[in-house]
Amino acid sequence: MGVFDPIIELSRGLGETLRSFWREPTVTVQYPEEKRTVRPRFRGRHVLKRYENGLEKCIGCSLCAAACPADAIFVEASENTDEARFSPGERYASTYEINMLRCIYCGFCEDACPTEAIVLGDNYELSFTDRRQAIYDKDMLLEPVPMAEMLTPRKVEPGLFTRSVPQMKDPRD
């Protein structure tokens, strides 16, 4: 410690800020043009998944709606037939609505789902201009299909899709 310490300390501060003046790159992400990739377990907007053959995974069991702490999910189930089949098994979700203003993105629906139909995706850019728009219906939530013949409902061979919940291995992690 010396007499000139006040001057030295003040100048060191100035030097530090001047050094950071030239520092590249900046911490700023130019948002709409460049986006950060989300984390693997990020919980964003929900997606209703399909099997590889295009059938919907959701069987309309309403377990997600029961698990939802915010009461954001509304499910109404109807009967599947082999002439117009949406999902394997007896029933499918004829109405599936999530109110995105109520949803807290906790992921309980994902955990409750017996068929892994509902998954919280990586889309975080949700915006609405009125309350009606915040209710996402089944058409908005369903995953798109790669080919037109994989669309649901579709006519299938009778007796092929009888099991609603697929046989799955116990989860590891």
Partner: protein
Amino acid sequence: MDWILWIEWIVKGFVLCMLLLAGFAYLTLYERRALARIQVRVGPNRAGPQGVLQPIADAVKLIFKEELTPAKAYKAIFLMAPILTVVPSLIIAAVIPLGSSFTLFGRVIHLYVADINVGVLYLTSIASIAVYGIVLAGWSSNNKYAMLGGLRSSAQMISYELSLGLCFVIAILLGDSMNLNEIVAAQKDMWFAVVQPAGALAFLIVTLAEVNRAPFDMPEAEQELTAGYHAEYSGMKFALFFMAEYQKMIVISMIAATLFFGGYREFWFLQDTIFSVDRYWFLGPIYLFLKVVVLLFFMIWVRATWPRIRYDRLMAFGWKVLLPLTLFLAFITAVGILLQQQYPLMVSLWIFNIPVYIAIIPFLSAAIALVAVALIYRELRRKSHGRI
């Protein structure tokens, strides 16, 4: 009185006001970008290329904002205070020479609005008026935070004005005139910042306090006073305070450049080259602009670096350090000049003829400034958590 002279004055006054208003708008952008760079950010770059339209966007936003007047405010004074703050910050620039002169339609146009033979006194008096706006704004808001901000600001500005006046005295002594044109002309061979570096530095410190900038931005300390004297102001009335603060920054930088950094003149060692103001008149405003930009960067840099100092330390620093220091500096300057006049002693060194007593001034001043630093240090050591 010749009527063309009136037109000339009106045009010059109008142009100067417009320059300051545009300068204010772009100083906000400059400050935001520079601060952002120092904090390793980018800053506003969306409105227009590199954010050049950002000030316009800000202005539009402020114009369309709702203006609130508190129910218990003193309406007339509440309305008058922003105007009282802005007007001095605009008219103070009238005496500052922006350049030499040029000939237009056979008339010699000087690049200053007014040539007052006591220009420095004009500066000090107008600078003192600015405090009224702030105090009245704080008082008429009928809000205790605003009131405290106004009080702090009045105490601070009055305290630091003494040191400011003494810094002016140094420049007056060195320039042997109160006319700013003559002060600039006297710096043709040597800037006063070289003759009196401690005085220039003290002036820069005092101006930070005079324009309420960090680290002396007590009147608007967000953490304690929400926003200080303009806590109750919104919309365009707030914009006027904002405008006044930034215009004062520009103007005080212009004054600092004029008094200590050669004004509109080039570096003294460039005076016989093609970069001289005597050769091309338009270089004058350019040099002044560059000096102002550098001085403004210093202000922004200081704001980005140093924390706000405590209020009692601010007052102690003003009264116990800066006032005696500037008094000593003025004394040394006066004695040096007087001795040189009485006993003209010159020493030839290489190609320079150096007046001995004048040459002693910077070294003696620097020594005195270091003594001041040492005294602050001792005081801080003695009562490590007490007051300085």
